[in-house]
């Protein structure tokens, strides 16, 4: 064999090796259209992949801002503010979206016997969770506020597009459902675009859309409720909604007692049966509101009702012992300590 021929053979082998490397490595991951915005009292991270990613990102951001402008109870222009201001006085004309969210909120309030209640606002106010001036209210104040908590007092008139709260002092707070609902609307919007994959995180409420850009399963970390790091991983395939409620996001500690922002609508006091619960569902509003209801009701109720609502749950009880519903056991990894 001539040396020239050997050089040629080596050259061809070289080319072949490179091509094999390239093809086994798979396609490079395209850059997502991404944005980090502050809305709905939290941080929202959006990452979208696919041909229409820029347009889909714009649309998603505008959905977040639109819904925020409706549910922001601090803004005098918002529907929720107007409803609350006119409680016991007169019905208020609102957008169709407001009515849609309220109907879904009432539906879950009914299904959870009021463990989730969109009229929780008076309690949030007296505990200081609205203005961050945290305090433990007197029993009298709690009793008085409890009388104002009643989702049955929300009167919706779909012909006139109005909402009315029956009694003065009553108030709506959609913090336990609005983010999940927004994720539903983003999901619907993404369906109308040419999108391969997306990951939206609104203050811990996650939407995984189709498959991840670099694999077949999404890996969602469950935040360690006591300290830094994560305490587990949920692996999900395709489009899912993951919502968590815990006592560690907004809380204050007084005389060694932890008071969290999720208040039991029946007792008027912060729920403390469990430390955190994560709900995996096919509907954003459902997962968001159920995580609140399950947090209030505790472990047994959550495990017994997971299949009724067609959701999976994973949580930590008051002793940080993990519990998982049977329908998602194979999707969950729990670590013995924070990682």
């Amino acid at each position: 064999m001539s040396s020239k021929k050997i050089v040629n053979i080596i050259a061809y082998i070289f080319v072949a090796v490179i091509l094999i490397f390239v093809f086994t490595k798979g396609k490079p991951v395209e850059k997502p259209a991404s944005s980090e915005i502050y809305s709905m009292n939290t941080i929202c991270d959006l990452e979208i992949y696919g041909k229409d990613k820029e347009a889909a990102l714009q649309k998603s951001v505008s959905i977040i801002n639109t819904i925020n402008s409706i549910v922001d109870d601090f803004s005098p222009q918002s529907d929720v503010y107007k409803i609350n201001e006119n409680a016991g006085i007169r019905p208020v004309k609102v957008s169709k979206t407001t009515i849609d969210i309220l109907e879904k909120a009432i539906q879950i309030a009914k299904q959870t016997n009021g463990a989730f209640d969109p009229t929780i606002r008076p309690l949030l106010v007296i505990w200081g969770f609205k203005n961050k001036n945290y305090r433990v209210p007197t029993e009298e104040k709690i009793k008085a506020a409890l009388k104002l908590i009643s989702y049955q007092d929300i009167v919706i008139n779909k012909e006139d597009n109005t909402v009315f709260l029956k009694h003065k002092g009553e108030g709506i707070d959609l913090g336990g459902i609005a983010k999940g609902y927004t994720l539903d609307k983003i999901k619907e919007a993404l369906d109308n675009f040419n999108i391969k994959s997306a990951l939206i995180n609104m203050g811990g409420n996650v939407l995984t859309y189709k498959n991840p850009p670099n694999g077949s399963v999404w890996r969602i970390g469950i935040k360690n409720p006591r300290g830094s790091g994560i305490r587990g991983i949920i692996t999900v395939k395709g489009t899912k909604f993951i919502s968590t409620s815990g006592d560690y996001e907004r809380y204050f500690i007084k005389n060694g007692v932890r008071y969290c922002h999720i208040i039991n609508p029946k007792t008027g006091k912060p729920a403390r049966k469990i430390i955190s619960i994560t709900v995996v569902s096919d509907k954003g509003y459902l997962g968001d509101a159920l995580s609140t209801a399950f947090f209030v009701k505790g472990k047994e109720f959550a495990l017994q009702n997971a299949t009724r609502f067609n959701v999976g749950v994973v949580g930590f009880d008051d002793k940080m012992t993990p519990f998982i519903s049977n329908n998602i056991k194979e999707l969950i990894t729990i670590y013995n300590e924070a990682r």
């Binding site: 020239k4 021929k5 040629n8 050259a11 061809y12 070289f14 080319v15 490179i18 091509l19 490397f21 390239v22 490595k25 490079p28 944005s35 980090e36 915005i37 502050y38 009292n41 939290t42 941080i43 991270d45 961050k132 990951l199 995180n201 203050g203 811990g204 409420n205 996650v206 995984t208 991840p212 999404w218 890996r219 969602i220 970390g221 469950i222 935040k223 300290g227 830094s228 790091g229 994560i230 991983i233 949920i234 993951i242 919502s243 968590t244 815990g246 560690y248 996001e249 994560t278 990682r339």
Partner: protein
Amino acid sequence: MKQGDKFVLYGLIVLAFILLIEYGFFQRRSDKVVVIRSDGKIVKELPISKDTLFEVKSKEGHLSVEIKNGKVRVINSTCKDKFCEKEGWISNIGESIICLPNRISISIIGKNGEKIDTITY
């Protein structure tokens, strides 16, 4: 070897190199990187392996970030609730510390190590 064969061969070699560059073969294997965003925009990207201490400013306020021994934490935030400080050290890919009042986020991204897409909380 004929003239034409040579062209094909050289062409293939050039093509192979282009593909290699495209597919990131020559990129340095990035370890964990700390990404700092202020008011939604990336303001800093630093390797987690290098110990450092620095300030991050936003329209709303500022805070100090410490990177040490492959971990990151917030010290001294001008915010009221101090949740960012209480968060402590983070070190996993996909983890982040968010200071809502200051609109500053610190997240860890990277290739090596256990990867998480995002975190539910």
